[in-house]
Amino acid sequence: MALLRRAIALSVCFTCPGCAGWQSALDPHGQQARGLEGLIWTFIWVAAAVWISVMAVLVVALSRKSGRGAGNERRMRVTVGGAVAGTAAIVLALTIISFLSTRLVSSEASHPLEIRVRGYQWWWEVTYLDARAERVFTTANEIHIPVNRPVRLQLSAADVIHSFWAPNLAGKQDLIPGRENSLTFSAQQPGTYRAQCAEFCGVQHAHMALLVVAETPDAFEHWRQSQLSPAASPTNPEQAEGRKVFTSKPCASCHTIQGTSASASIGPDLTHLASRSYIAAGLLQNTRGSLAAWIADPQTIKPGNNMPNVPLTANELRAVSAYLAALK
């Protein structure tokens, strides 16, 4: 059993050398996902056993030589009746297992970390909630959580339906306009897990990912403090020029950088952009080069997304990417 499990896990990894399994339901790192993994394997084993039994009967039925049409109607009726009863018993057992698992993985936690996740075409707005208004902050496309503490996501959508799915941590839950859903889970080990939108949401559905970074409570607290501070000020003339470009060009009509005049909320909050490991909702690793490429031509990199091509001179582009790359 464990052998086959490893074989299947291997066959996944075989086709993806160096596979981190960072978006896999079979590589659980949270209590909920672990419970679900057990459930998946239970169902797979039962299904495999049933399939093998039916196939065995099929093979014998097709290959046997004697006793055909021998009028053993009564015996066949009993056998078929028994098989149907067996089916019913299996189905009943699986229903009960499923029901119990539901209760196990959806237990409500007390005092969870509350995070509001709002789906947009095609990125995620993440707001850390707190009773004290000055401890509330907003980021995008990356969630940091402390390990072994329940996290409760309040899920809503700004435009169309999206679905939050971080398979290593928990099952998915839809974000639906006009409704509020929630998803509670916790991570058991520090690590970076990938989440991706699972409900078709338009032309860039394929590029709507989010990272969940689980870290030790200390590291998380450190990260939270840095996110609460205003944006880093330029430390050299190029960055200063970049900030000027950003606030005077159309950039500022969609984005916010706390501590500057840019305070629009159509696109992701960029206050601590450089602290995030990806840009464009998991599409590009966050480097100064990829930032410049993205700003220069977002419509080629992610066709149809809502960020327009903004004409900039080479110097402006260089300056603005230098500024953004410094927003730790």
Partner: protein, 636 residues
């Protein structure tokens, strides 16, 4: 009744040759363009329906190959995301609405009247109208694709993505109107099948002597009648939201986004059984013929069909397990979804018992049934997996589900359908398909199918969502996707070979006699292909296997008029003769009515007023349709 000067002629007065000639004259369809447009012969329309549906299958298959080409490697730029979205939407819409449902109804249009022993389907002009409307809907969809304005919101067209705010252009309207076309066509056929089965069965074909395929089509027709209104409400509300600014689905104005999903899946789940139950009927026709014994557990199989049909309406929420409904309600739908495994089990065990007790003759149709059993059981079992709420939260909207429903739809329906084509081709065409090529077709399809779709289970569990136009190299799904894409070529070759065999065999296949497989049901009691009047004399049924009885003589009835199209109406349960009923002659009006309907539906995409003025020509066509022409058929 006899107020005309015309002399009535009954089949009692004629010898066999004269009778056949007279019947052929009364029921004829001229081989002219006019005859093509006016015919109401269920066999001609059925053939057309089947051929058209298979053309759509081929087109949908090409779309699938395009998608596999795009997904063969990471970050591929072969298709733009916009085109990819149109293609995956078209693939789903085309396969569900233009292939799977119509092809099953088409098989029934051809076969059910023959299997119950009557001369034509009930409401034959409605049948003609249904075909023309189906063709128009299919053409509209494919023309929109050529014009780069095909629907791009998935076959399920969830709001708000398909709504006025996010679904730009006319793409979603085309989706909604295509639904109207195909649903009207499907509803029409459903009504015809129900009436044909209820009132036109040969005398003596009591309920327990109805062939299982006919039962399956009866249950399917009721599913169509009860489920399709839900989606017509949905698509009409959508078009109203888009065209005249109603707010059925707009949460900002008190509408509800989830209402769409309830309506869609209240149709969408029974839809699966609308496609699968006819396949159950086909398998139940093929197995007895090729093992030489009646189906084991006839009553159980029929009751399983009906149970499945009833349960089909209690499962729709399992498509909505992650939208955030109350957990206790979801558990109910887990139970009902899993329960459907029980009637499915009954059917499978009865087929296995029939195989066990019979002497299998391994012709192509039976090979398709074996391929069906192997693959469909996998699809059924993964169906049990996705029925579990917690498990579904991990696999919903991933490639696991793509794998699951292709196992059910291709393994569960297309394999039996192709087996049925090999089985009934001799009846429909009068010639056999190639047994040698047939084996290759089964082999290629079986191997190609499993290599293509089995890895998708693993891809889904490894995190790959559905409906993505590409994926990044760092996701490491590339290797398996390449494997899937290469396997898809094998699967496509299987289909290609099937089409080659079918087209070749129409002219060059070895001739088939009346009953080449020595089958037991009534369609084999007439020539291959059947004459335009189906049966010279209406058979009288005295057992469930009328052509296997001892002595091998089929009793017939007589007394029908032959100078006008006339059929025998029998009672619902006992099939006792009740009346002679006229059957309509050929008419151009169904074609014109379909044309008028098409104009109205397409123009109403652009202006709501089109519904008003578009109904005027339709009204005129309907008046022409029902206007008495003074033919003998007009008599009571």
């Amino acid at each position: 009744m006899n107020d005309t000067t015309q002399q009535t002629v009954s089949d009692l007065e004629l010898g066999p040759t004269e009778l056949a000639e007279q019947l052929a004259h009364t029921w004829r369809t001229p081989r002219t363009l006019w005859g093509t447009l006016t015919t109401v012969d269920h066999k001609i329309i059925g053939r057309r329906y089947i051929a058209t549906a298979f053309v759509f299958l081929a087109l949908g298959g090409v779309l699938a190959l395009l998608m596999r080409l795009q997904l063969a490697r990471a970050d591929n730029r072969f298709l733009t995301p916009d085109r990819y979205d149109q293609i995956f939407t078209m693939h789903g819409v085309n396969m569900m609405f233009l292939f799977a449902v119509p092809v099953m109804e088409a098989m029934a249009v051809y076969l059910v009247p023959l299997m119950v022993g009557t001369r034509n389907i009930a409401f034959p002009r409605l049948n003609a109208y249904s075909y023309w409307l189906y063709l128009a809907g299919g053409l509209m969809l494919w023309i929109s694709f050529v014009l780069d304005m095909a629907p791009d919101v998935g076959w399920f067209a969830y709001v708000p993505l398909s709504g006025p705010q996010f679904g730009a252009g006319k793409r979603s309207d085309i989706w909604a109107q295509m639904i109207t076309f195909t649903e009207v066509a499907a509803l029409a056929v459903a009504v015809e099948i129900v009436v044909t089965v209820f009132k036109q069965r040969a005398p003596g074909m009591t309920l327990e002597r109805i062939p299982v395929f006919v039962w399956s089509m009866l249950v399917t027709s009721f599913l169509v009648l009860l489920s399709m209104p839900a989606i017509m409400v949905a698509s009409t509300s959508l078009i109203l939201d888009r065209l005249i600014g109603t707010h059925f689905f707009n949460p900002a104005e008190g509408g509800d986004v989830l209402l769409w999903q309830h309506l869609f899946w209240f149709f969408g789940h029974p839809e699966v059984y609308i496609i699968f139950l006819p396949a159950v009927g086909m398998v139940s026709s093929i197995i007895p013929t090729f093992v030489g014994r009646p189906i084991f557990g006839y009553l159980a199989v029929v009751l399983a069909l009906i149970t499945t049909g009833l349960l089909a309406f209690g499962l729709w929420v399992h498509h909505m397990f992650v939208v955030g409904l109350p957990r206790i309600g979801e558990s109910f739908f887990t139970a009902s979804s899993m329960a459907i495994a029980i009637p499915a089990g009954v059917q499978i065990f009865c087929w296995l018992a029939t195989l066990w007790d019979g002497r299998p003759v391994y012709k192509t149709p039976l090979l398709f049934v074996i391929a069906f059993l192997i693959t469909f059981v996998i699809g059924g079992l993964t169906g049990v997996m996705v029925a579990s709420v917690p498990l579904d939260t991990q696999v919903h909207d991933t490639y696991f589900v793509v794998a699951h429903f292709h196992y059910v739809l291709i393994g569960g329906s297309v394999f039996p359908l192709l087996g049925a084509v090999y089985y009934w081709f001799p009846k429909i065409v009068g010639r056999h398909m190639s047994e040698r090529l047939g084996r290759w077709v089964v082999g290629l399809l079986f191997v190609g199918f499993n290599l293509t779709f089995f890895p998708m289970h693993i891809l889904g569990l490894a995190g790959m969502p559905r409906r993505v136009y590409t994926y990044q190299a760092e996701m490491h799904w590339g290797g398996m996707n390449l494997f899937v894409s290469v396997s898809a070529v094998l699967l496509a070759l299987g289909f290609l070979l099937f089409f080659v065999d079918a087209l070749r065999s129409i002219r060059r296949g070895p001739p088939a006699g009346h009953n080449p497989w020595r089958a037991s049901t009534l369609e084999w009691a007439t020539s291959s292909p059947p004459p335009n009047y189906n049966f010279t004399r209406i058979p009288v049924v005295t057992s469930a296997e009328p052509l296997w009885q001892d002595p091998e003589v089929l009793p017939v009835s007589s007394g029908l008029r032959v100078d006008r199209r006339e059929l025998l109406v029998t009672s619902l349960t006992e099939a006792k003769p009740q009346a002679r009923e006229s059957s309509p002659r050929n008419s151009i009006w169904p074609f014109l009515a379909a044309l008028a309907t098409t104009v109205m539906l397409i123009t109403s995409i652009f202006s709501p007023w089109a519904v008003l003025w578009g109904s005027i020509p339709l009204l005129a066509a309907l008046i022409g349709w029902f206007w008495p022409k003074g033919t003998p058929e007009d008599e009571g």
